[in-house]
Symmetry: C2
Subunit: 352 residues, 2 copies
């Protein structure tokens, strides 16, 4: 286990001019030898784990925060950026998160396991993320004694993670497959080959804004390199299906697609109230329109920035204070209007 | 019955700066003495009825059309303008419509009754419409012998019309009552005092675009003047409730109302596909925003013109040819976009 893979070159980043693959993530579950898992540990033991991990992570992950000391807004923001899990949102005592300065590498302490190492990269970059996570894992292992069994691999709180303790996942934007009614068989097919398909924030979240997270389930008996290679191949295949569906959408249902994107832009540029969920949906439709070449005057990076900024905690952080749900919906609409008031125009003349 | 009311002066037209009452209509059911009702009459008899009515109506209603000779599009357009009923849409043989040149007065021949006289006026103008219908009725009666019973009044094919044969109705735009959830008790209350509340195209149609047609049910034992006075009083009361609901909407739920109107304008100015039903709904929301003073750059007359022009047959008549449903949705969206591309702006600054 934990065998070395060559450090990937730039060619390892999949060329995705269509913005289908949004981000790649590697997560490694690790525990300290001879210490009870967080749920079974006393506060004193959990505090000791935090102290040991913080000391070990000082150099690679210098931005260290005790979650109980964070404001709810800070925790929410960490959650929206995929840096802590739903389980840590409440600010559980003796849990922490340690971050690299660019937030691409991180570790949760005393979540389900003592350590949840994470590497996050934009686009389809599983090998790069793996190299990041692996290097961070090595650095921490030099100072920490991991619970490891020669027969099983890394030991984890939940048996489903025993072995590599690795979950590799890719967040994909698959609007055309959804709109063409082709997503359900793909989700079923992926399930049959041992992959999980979830919403943007993982387990139990719906696939809002046509965003799906695809990840491995198996951690036992499969080396990391194999898991990553397999997932990468599958993600490329799904991206190919999405590209194909987009092409058919553009050729066969062009007016429908134009209508969808133009309405999204019209609503984003006009609304006075907008929930986070609706913003996600309308921005997703606009993003599809851009990918199809049906919208001009706005680019995908702007939409991707907005997708991040319209989230509740990011919105409040930008305003600098807590807002009620109604105030958030007004503020979100105002910011979106500010950027989209002049609705983007269709690129080409409508087909007669 | 059929007693005279003084010809109304301009003061009889209710001042409605808020556009709550859209139009007023009087319909009189009449039949020829000794002739079987249309459903029981032979083709020869029905043809004779058409000939006699056409001759009698020559002067007041010179635009006379046999419905079987009209194209389906022409009939649909007559229906959309409330000049023929749903029953005549199919182009039943030996049925006709006779119209004054301004279409404010008309008569259907061989619908359910031999004659259905109609007077139609914009706004709340029941007395004016009654004067129109009554004068037309008198003119026709000079040349036609009506089936009339001293005990019952005018005899009609359906017993529910016996007596005056009159239906008086007012089309109202009641978006605030609907949005504030106050419409259901009003509909129930109106039902209890013998009034019917229907959608824009009468019996069996839903109240699309927040438009409701309120009419009398009773035709036996109540003189026309009383029916009209009662209906007028009730309509003014309902209009008062709507005005009250609009004021509360503007004061207490201003952002919600602004959002509704701004979204409607945004969608109308952007969409590439728009069904007739959605156009009605979005134009209704925009109309409310104008009435509330929340939208500028567009006036209520423009919206009312669009409400008429976006109807399927009007749309095809403007283009000059038959269109498929998909073509209509594209053409409708294109015309709406042409007039609303630059979205109307809110009148006042948003309340902080």
């Amino acid at each position: 286990m934990n065998e070395r893979m060559p450090v990937p070159g730039p060619e390892a980043v999949y060329e995705d001019a269509f913005g289908i693959t949004l981000s790649s993530r590697i997560r490694l579950a690790r525990n300290l030898r001879g210490v009870p898992f967080p749920d079974k540990a006393s506060p004193a033991v959990r505090q000791d784990v935090v102290a040991r991990v913080r000391a070990a992570a000082q150099e690679p992950l210098p931005d260290q925060r005790l979650l109980a000391a964070c404001t709810p807004l800070e925790r929410q923001q960490l959650f929206e950026d995929h840096l802590i899990s739903h389980a840590l949102l409440e600010g559980r005592p003796d849990s922490a998160v340690c971050l690299s300065l660019d937030c691409q590498r991180s570790a949760m302490v005393n979540e389900e396991d003592h350590l949840r190492i994470q590497a996050l990269r934009p686009g389809l970059a599983l090998r790069v993320a793996w190299a990041d996570a692996d290097a961070l894992d090595d650095a921490l292992e030099r100072r920490l004694d991991y619970a490891f069994s020669a027969a099983l691999g890394f030991l984890t709180s939940c048996p489903s993670n025993v072995g590599t303790g690795m979950r590799a996942s890719v967040l994909m934007h698959l609007p055309a497959l959804v709109l063409m009614g082709e997503m359900d068989p793909i989700v079923n097919g992926l399930g049959k080959i041992g992959l999980a398909v979830r919403g943007r924030w993982g387990e139990g979240t719906a696939a809002l804004g046509h965003m799906f997270q695809i990840s491995n389930q198996l951690t036992l008996g499969v080396p990391e390199s194999r898991t990553i290679e397999d997932l990468e191949a599958i993600v490329k295949e799904v991206a190919g299906h999405e590209q194909n569906a987009r092409e058919r959408l553009r050729r066969e249902r062009r007016t429908f697609a134009e209508d969808l994107a133009a309405r999204a832009a019209g609503i984003l540029g006009a609304a006075r109230l907008m929930t986070a969920q609706e913003a996600l949906e309308r921005l997703s439709e606009l993003r599809l329109g851009i990918a199809l070449g049906l919208v001009r005057g706005i680019g995908m990076p702007q939409v991707d920035r907005l997708l991040r900024e319209v989230q509740p905690a990011h919105l409040q952080a930008a305003v600098g204070r807590n807002l009620t749900a109604a105030e958030r919906d007004m503020e979100r609409a105002k910011r979106l209007r500010g950027e989209l008031r002049r609705p983007p125009k269709p690129l080409a003349k409508r087909i007669p």
